[in-house]
């Protein structure tokens, strides 16, 4: 496998509605920012890999066809990835594989969602005739899984509240975020409306417009730019069926297998010690303790202890800060959310995460999941090539 590194990162401002741009304008903005960050122009890019969640969010079918001009794709290969909510991560990995295969030297990858064009709830709950299932929305699907987690682990009921506060306080350090809540309190979260017990309004992610892009280059080009390269030390994807008899929905096998794969590639056997921070897809607060266990940061049933002890909090000086950027709980342009995790992990490693920088971070995990917590994409990035 060829070495590959992130040499440019570009994000847009995340907002409930980016009313100032077209879809093409939004996507171009992130891509242009990534090129500027890498000190490159469109001609320097050999291929473009784009990802987003369902086309119904914007009602443009296979929008890469229309976006080709905004992304300088004339005469270039362009690939469109769609793996549900994990797509931001998968897209980054597919982009990396263009370089790691030796087939390309430098590629651009972009993900986006302009959810304000529609109403995300509509697009996901589009009723099809003869559906044998009751549709209770994403919260109705995930809340029972969290309840089962609480039963199994005996986690205190305010664990979710703690995560909601922690990620918003992190997020207040990141000017790109949609939600800016520097004064949020445990009480405010607790008092927010209960939606799908145990999920309160302030324990849920927002719906955002935004795009994220990265430039990925091979070993020979990695040092060409103004920024230090961020080396991709491991990347993995896993999928399992939405429903099968005996599936552990609380601690899915696909997540455990995926992270084991990515740690093995990166030579990690003690993630809490060897990783400096992690950007993990937590759209509902309770998923932090669940993923702490799934990703091997804590023993099964113990994830909530890390959260409650402040181990994942930058403000509390935790040893393994999670979602220093504010995470999905602060900005959620669905198709881009996974790539934002990957890109923010890379920002930490190159030391330019601004106010939410973890001092001296050298190795970080980026994580995304999607569907009924059945699709996973993860990478580990580092200052060191090997």
């Amino acid at each position: 496998m060829q070495y590959a590194a992130v040499t440019g990162i570009g994000q847009t401002q995340y907002k409930a509605r980016r009313g100032d741009v077209s879809i093409a304008g939004l996507v171009h903005e992130a891509a242009r920012n990534a090129l500027d960050d890498a000190g490159l122009d469109w001609n320097d890019i050999e291929a473009v890999i784009i990802g987003k969640a369902p086309d119904m969010f914007e009602g443009v079918i296979m929008p890469e066809i229309y976006l080709a001009d905004a992304l300088g794709c004339d005469g270039k290969p362009m690939l469109r990835v769609h793996t549900a909510g994990s797509v931001g991560g998968s897209t980054a990995l597919v982009a990396a594989s263009h370089v790691q295969s030796g087939a390309f030297r430098r590629v651009l990858t972009v993900t986006f969602e302009k959810q304000s064009e529609s109403n995300a709830m509509w697009a996901l709950s589009n009723p099809q005739p003869f559906s044998p299932h009751l549709n209770a929305g994403a919260g109705g699907y995930f809340a029972p899984i969290m309840r089962e987690y609480i039963r199994r682990s005996g986690a205190p009921r305010d664990t979710g509240i703690k995560v909601a506060v922690k990620d918003r306080l992190h997020g207040a350090r990141n000017p790109l975020n949609h939600l800016q809540m520097p004064d949020i309190s445990m009480q405010e979260v607790e008092d927010s409306p209960m939606l799908w017990d145990p999920i309160r309004f302030l324990e849920s992610c927002p719906s955002s417009d935004g795009a994220c892009a990265m430039v990925i280059a091979d070993e020979g080009l990695a040092n060409d730019g103004p920024r230090p390269p961020v080396w991709i030390r491991g990347g993995a994807m896993r999928s399992e069926p939405t429903m099968y008899a005996g599936r552990d929905e609380v601690n899915p096998q696909a997540g455990r297998d995926c992270v084991a794969d990515v740690y093995a590639q990166a030579g990690i056997d003690n993630p809490r010690k060897q990783l400096d921070c992690a950007e993990v897809y937590v759209p509902f607060s309770w998923y932090e303790p669940m993923w702490l266990e799934n990703l091997g940061f804590a023993e099964e049933g113990e994830g909530w202890r890390l959260t409650m002890e402040g181990a994942t909090s930058l403000d509390e000086g935790g040893d393994i800060p999670w979602n220093c950027s504010g995470g999905v709980l602060c900005s959620n342009p669905i198709g881009a959310s996974g790539m934002i995790r990957f890109a923010e992990a890379a920002r930490q490693v190159r030391g330019d995460a601004g106010e939410h920088q973890v001092d001296g971070a050298r190795t970080a995990l980026g994580h995304a999941y999607g569907g009924g917590a059945q699709f996973y994409a993860m990478w580990v990035v580092s200052t060191d090539k090997s």
Binding site: L134, A136, R147, E148, P193, D197
Partner: protein, 176 residues
């Protein structure tokens, strides 16, 4: 028509409406035909080592990736695998919040489906609880899961956690 330039346009409304003629798949058709008759019927693949019974079956034993060819009639009794209390209304559904949406495993099946619970105290609903289907009057039956209006609690002992998803069609009470 005014010559005034008016406000600069920043947004447009774009209706995108497409018509489809949807046809249910074979497994769903078989399932809904039974639901139309007031019966919950699962499916399995007899050759599968796992022997798992899916309901509503989507066409395959998802673990093995092969068609579920055999029908297995299930009863009206089920076990609560997990649940949520929902505080927001479901579009086009008359049920008023707060209400219970539960993952229920019917006796004889090995997988849960999501349905409503009612005739219960929301605060006392719990994992492992026994429930039964309350069907609409026969004349209202259609090819739809809401032929079952909701599930309501049964006065039976709870199913131990490790047994959820493995309760045989004969039911649980006999083994309590």
């Amino acid at each position: 028509m005014s010559e005034d330039a008016g406000e600069h346009i920043t947004a447009i409304e774009t209706p995108v409406y497409l018509k489809y003629n949807f046809t249910a798949g074979q497994a769903t058709t078989r399932f809904l035909q039974q639901v139309r008759q007031g019966k919950l019927v699962g499916q399995r693949r007899p050759e599968c080592d796992c022997g798992n019974v899916y309901v509503p079956a989507r066409g395959s034993c998802a673990a093995c990736g092969l068609p579920t060819t055999e029908e297995v009639e299930l009863g009206d009794k089920a076990t609560v695998q997990s649940f949520t209390i929902v505080w927001i209304p479901i579009p086009n559904n008359p049920i008023q919040p707060p209400y219970i949406v539960a993952n229920l495993v019917p006796d004889g099946a090995n997988i849960s489906f999501i349905h409503l619970m009612s005739e219960c105290d929301n605060d006392s609903v719990h994992i492992g609880q026994r429930v039964e289907a309350v069907w609409k009057p026969e004349e209202e039956w259609d090819y739809a899961m809401d032929n079952i209006r909701y599930f309501r609690p049964l006065d039976e002992p709870d199913v131990p956690i490790e047994m959820i998803g493995k309760v045989p069609l004969a039911g649980w009470e006999g083994e309590a």
